[in-house]
Assembly symmetry: C2
Homo-oligomer: 162 residues x 2
Amino acid sequence: MSLFFEDIELGRVIELGGHRFGAEEIVAFAREFDPQPFHLSEEAARESLFGHLCASGWHTVSIWMRHAVAREHRIRAELAAAGEPAPGFGPSPGVRELTWPTPVYVDDEISFTTSPQTKRVLASRPGWGVVESLNEGVNQEGRTVLRFFGSLFVERRARAGA
Amino acid sequence: MSLFFEDIELGRVIELGGHRFGAEEIVAFAREFDPQPFHLSEEAARESLFGHLCASGWHTVSIWMRHAVAREHRIRAELAAAGEPAPGFGPSPGVRELTWPTPVYVDDEISFTTSPQTKRVLASRPGWGVVESLNEGVNQEGRTVLRFFGSLFVERRARAGA
């Protein structure tokens, strides 16, 4: 298990774990960042296109992020324990085709995944490559609630001298 | 001023207001959703590609969202005070080309905008149209820190009988 550019396997689907979206946290996120009625109360949501209280899409993607970072922390801890080198954390060049095909309703259990799709090296940033992954969240009925392609700068083994 | 599909002017750049990103809120958001070292402490960030503590991209876009919703609330309050009809709040079909071209560092003052680019009506959802806008955040030096195209379902005047 490694996080270096060279070791990332294309096409593999990586399970990031699950999260149950409680009503309280849905409302707390919405109050701070996305106070539209259907994210704030069941009553107001009933009159909307959604029909029921549901999570902000920015909340859903932020919880995906939490799970992706947690996985990276777990692998780094294992590498450190084994005395093996780990790459630097890399920033993101961006995201494309971010959609929320099905709403996340209260108490939905969402399973998150990431799957590396393409890798490329850049002349402009020696020592680093770019990996684009397909990232998803799926609810307890198998419906996709989140889908996007996210890119990340990933350090190359060569650069770290490993 | 209205929020109905028919009344939305393409190409207009709408100022949504500004936000100063304090160190505390940058770290608070990162602890909950994106605990990468460069979002958690100045010290850890110094060793990263960023060089200094900076906000999670998901934080930046969530603050953009807060400003966009706040504007909608202001207009709805004006319409209500004038006894004029307002459309329903609409969900989002998605986002594309989301990038963070420049990091948001501590105490950066970010100005947010939205600019409607295209409008279309859908046979599949009578009474509603889709508006795609170019949404941006720019820092105090005029550098773009956030840029994405976001779509929104927007109710048509005809449907509301207005």
